[in-house]
Subunit: 255 residues, 3 copies
């Protein structure tokens, strides 16, 4: 129970993340802190939820995952801690935890209401520092999730469009664009395992499905089973998002 | 005495910060290193001083705070370590430490002149690596500040404009713009505690003072007591800096 | 053998680096992880090799250096671990390790083929997470490099243009531009030690060689012996790259 991960939209240009870490280490000096990313676009709960889902299960069992994309900070939205078989998740109850938790067996959901585990003085605008950081540090130090507040049934779910699958065709969409310009779809790699397939966008054949980026010449498009578990569309040595004008929501058809 | 924080303008695209950390861990392998930020605009001592002030007191007592925004590196400017009741600060004596230190009780100021605590070969352009990193690591390992060089009286002060306060009116200004486009002013939250107030910019009423961002509808301006201790102007779900054309130095009047 | 450094082009906007760290800590919970940089331009092996070269020797002996700029991931390119007198280097065998290793006495080169040290399921697109991270963690935990796979003779070398030196003249070029806009050349500081010299670009005298940036007035160009061991061209308080239109490959003549 030593690793604490951080996924936020706080960016790296200001002192926000560093300050959270000061609070974390003040409560639990033995915690090992790992940044997943702090460059989630401001307020983009969906992107934060995807990043958390794609990374959390690579951490040692017992890790505490903190995710704070929290445009409703200070309002009526709830803050929660969720215990699963292998991890504890902490964040606002606005959907940011929901995509990761869809893979997990939830054992306990608690509302963070026991102010004894907060920072002494809580601001209305920076619960990352004043609520989520101290709570996560206490959890990583061994405090039971049951101490944090009353039980809650279920959590807020983020809408997640599952692709429509018929016998010869999958209707999916782009769900995330990464720094390389690779467009990650909502189509699970496992849907395509072992089958020949071709990708169509806006009625036009774009590429076949191969196993790695350099399967095609430089500058050419290729779809590959992505490392996060979903089919992604790439350009060898280029940006598929730019060249093919792909963005979150673009319809992707696989035949 | 294990935590060492780093606040610099070295950015993250090159190897500068990583190299400092190599030196730090070479001297004190048990140090816990925390980045406050490395994205201070190149040479912007004021922004670095503000980031340090807003974060340092959230770290455990005994932490060593290193701040390096150092356009005068290699010239006649002095390098200093400053011991206060709770922390030790290390950096160039160019004002970068002064805003944080205004809150602290200074016990000792030393000029960094004992080369025995420097890296063996000191460049003229990268004292972050060659002077400040090894000094900070020695301090965190238990070396007394008095060993580092001769005593110095006082430190270079950064100009800091305090708002003009009359009975019904505060004349302040924007002091920092964060990644969300929130404009942080030099008006202390405590000046407004419990009072109704309205914010004027360029003679025009902009908004009232509320407690959190979502107190107003999406797209509307709001002023809130900020988490760094100063009044800030925000737009719910947007960038106040962009929409209201706020920048460092913009006059802000509160009535 | 506790420090593991990371140099990649994975950026900080996605979850890639965080995920590598999860894997590293899963294998070796006691590892100290240090980012050198993750902002190498996508696929720019040369820039990655330069960053690694400029930083690796500032880390404690026994550190494991992981460098992943890997456009050929999943293809026929080999993955290697290289043991030297002081360090172990891990990465694709595409030249990224070669500039740093030119300074080192190589003791053993191994191809990473023992899948027992990989993650259980290896993707075709993210060997940083699935191969290089677990290997580095095992190495830092004490696994001998000889266990990782068969010996290999030599490694892929990156082309590196050495300047042409005649009695009164050095013909070099810009090799790297840093965040400050300083243009780092391939001309070793030691070539100029103690001599007066002047820098010419496109037939025009640009500046003399001084010892630090503020040797000249604000806005003026200056060349200084850089902290990475190479002559660099700077503008006091500005960006030499922008003002003088310098980029990687720009010819630089020193007389």
């Amino acid at each position: 129970m030593r690793v604490i991960t951080l996924t936020t939209d706080f960016g790296s240009q200001d002192w926000f993340v560093g300050t959270m870490k000061g609070v974390l280490l003040g409560v639990n000096p033995k915690a090992t802190l790992v940044d997943i990313t702090h460059e989630i676009p401001p307020g983009d709960i969906r992107a934060g939820a995807f990043a958390l889902m794609a990374s959390y299960m690579f951490f040692p069992k017992g890790s505490v995952h903190v995710a704070v994309v929290d445009p409703g900070v200070g309002s009526e939205r709830k803050a929660i801690a969720v215990k699963t078989a292998s991890y504890t998740f902490v964040g606002p109850d606005n959907g940011i935890l929901s995509i990761a938790l869809a893979n997990e067996k939830i054992k306990d959901v608690r509302r963070l209401e026991n102010e004894g585990y907060f920072l002494k003085s809580v601001s209305h605008t920076f619960h990352g520092r004043d609520v989520f950081a101290p709570i996560a540090a206490h959890l990583s130090g061994g405090v039971a999730v049951s101490k944090l507040g009353p039980k809650q049934k279920g959590i807020v779910q983020l809408p997640w469009s599952t692709p429509a699958i018929s016998r010869n065709r999958i209707n999916g969409e782009v769900f995330y664009v990464d720094r390389f310009g690779n467009a990650i779809t909502n189509i699970l790699n496992t849907c395509l395992a072992g089958k020949e397939a071709e990708v169509f966008i806006a009625g036009k054949r774009i590429c076949g499905v191969k196993t790695f980026y350099q399967s095609v010449p430089v500058g050419k498009a290729v779809a590959v089973p992505g490392s996060s578990g979903f089919l992604e569309i790439a350009i060898n040595g280029g940006s598929a998002a730019k060249s093919l004008k792909l963005e979150v929501g673009t319809a992707v058809i696989v035949r």
